[in-house]
């Protein structure tokens, strides 16, 4: 019960800063849309794409834009040594992990609210699937991305090359999740029923569970310097 309260305060603080400055969210959405437009042009103006290529394009845009926001969430804690202040306070590392993951999750979701509609505007001509059918995939990827990402961003923020290292460390770990997500999205965009996606959604859920557990257990080690 006390944990929930602490997590709420930590999240509230981050979201308040985010809504005030809007730096992560705006840059995430902007960069994502930019990628979508670039890929549209790269694909050849006026050419239509099928579901598989569309799925790939959507996830490239989401992945690259999300990693921008992820880097900021942790770098902010490091700025004036605030992490140290949190570590001295009675908050536990696990609570910090959950709070950070939740903040990342909501930032991604907000960015996707912009990206997915624009994706359908740009590429949707030959895609028969319902945008809402993407929801379970989005939720699972956001979950996996934010738990893995929180752990990895704590690592990269502890080094001198935060911005470069974050994607280098994070993307290889996320490759299996992305593979599954692209496959599932392709099916969803081709208007296959949800039951057909089970083969992908189940391993994705497994990924989420495994990395949530690993992140929760390992986070205390990366947070405290040694």
């Amino acid at each position: 019960m006390k944990s929930l309260r602490q997590i709420r305060f930590l999240c509230g603080k981050d979201l308040r800063i985010e809504l005030r400055k809007k730096e992560s969210l705006v840059s995430m959405a902007f960069f994502g849309v930019l990628i979508l437009v670039m890929l549209n042009i790269a694909n050849g103006v006026g050419k239509q794409i099928d579901a598989e290529a569309g799925a790939g394009i959507l996830w490239v845009a989401i992945l690259f834009s999300s990693v921008l926001g992820l880097g900021r969430v942790f770098a902010r804690e490091k700025e004036n040594g605030c992490v140290a202040a949190l570590l001295i306070s009675p908050v536990s590392s696990g609570e910090i992990f959950v709070a950070k993951a939740l903040v990342n999750f909501s930032l991604m979701l907000l960015a996707e609210l912009v990206l997915v509609p624009i994706f359908f505007v740009l590429f949707g001509a030959r895609l028969s699937g319902d945008p809402l059918a993407l929801l379970p995939i989005l939720v699972l990827v956001n979950f996996g991305f934010s738990t893995t990402g929180t752990l990895v961003s704590a690592i990269s923020a502890g080094t001198r090359r935060n911005e470069v290292l974050l994607p280098i460390l994070l993307f290889p770990l996320l490759l299996p999740l992305m593979t599954l997500a692209v496959k599932a999205t392709a099916l969803a965009l081709a208007a296959k029923p949800l039951a057909d996606l089970r083969g992908q959604l189940e391993p994705m859920a497994a990924f989420c569970v495994v990395f949530a557990a690993a992140g929760y257990l390992l986070f205390p080690f990366v947070l405290r310097e040694d």
Binding site: G158, T159, R160, P172, L175, P176, P203, F211, D226
Partner: protein, 226 residues
């Protein structure tokens, strides 16, 4: 003198076993009917893959042990096995595609095993990059321990997701289903033994090199202090 002998045991054994193994591959084992001479790559491809996997397993265990008792020796073991694992996986990927080219007429195919190896290569190579980016010993050890653990935890999901790719020849690599001839099996086992002995020698050499470098480093920093 006895310590010298003991440290030379594995390299010496490897120096004997590896020529024998190569000799058996070329002069003892029979030509495979469908694939011909290229199949002989297999005798070292498989042992390389196994030792690579062994390296990552050792890295994960070392990571866990380091986080539990924070002794330098475990960091040395982790560093050694990650580095050796990346070298071996590189060779697995090279031999794999050299084998694939004449058989499947393509250097690269998204076969589950190849994909798994590739993703593992990415994960552990990123761990090496991380190590090179951190100067503080304790931090480097903790962070790379976490990455090694997370990377290894990722393996089953990587394999699960890689199964989604259509495979051209899913069973060609499987030893048991091909039903190896006895002479082939004997050659394979000798090669495996040779690689394993080589691996142990290499691993011990790398660990001791790491420890020596760290100790010299200590002496030098102490020297500048006083």
């Amino acid at each position: 003198m006895t310590t010298f002998n003991r440290s030379a045991l594995f390299p010496g054994l490897a120096a004997v076993l590896i020529p024998i193994a190569i000799g058996m591959v070329f002069f003892y084992s029979p030509l495979e009917k469908t694939m011909g001479s290229v199949q002989k790559i297999f005798y070292f491809h498989l042992p390389l893959a196994l030792t690579a996997f062994l390296s990552f397993f050792v890295a994960c265990i070392s990571g866990i042990m380091y986080l539990r008792n924070r002794q330098r020796i475990w960091d040395a073991r982790l560093a050694a096995s990650v580095e050796i694992g990346v070298v071996l996986t590189t060779l697995v990927l090279i031999t794999g595609s050299l084998w694939g080219k004449p058989i499947w007429n393509t250097f690269w195919t998204w076969d589950p095993r190849l994909t798994t190896s590739l993703i593992l290569w990415f994960i552990f190579a990123s761990c090496l990059i991380l190590r090179s980016a951190i100067d503080e010993e304790g931090k480097r050890a903790t962070f790379s321990a976490v990455m090694a653990i997370v990377g290894f935890v990722d393996v089953p999901i990587v394999f699960l997701s890689a199964r989604l790719f259509r495979s051209i020849h899913p069973t060609v690599i499987r030893a048991d289903s091909v039903g190896l001839e006895t002479s082939m099996l004997v050659t394979l086992l000798v090669c495996m033994a040779a690689m394993l002995v080589f691996w142990v020698g290499l691993y011990k050499f790398r660990v001791s090199l790491f420890l020596q470098e760290a100790m010299i480093n200590d002496l030098q920093t102490d020297g500048t202090k006083s």
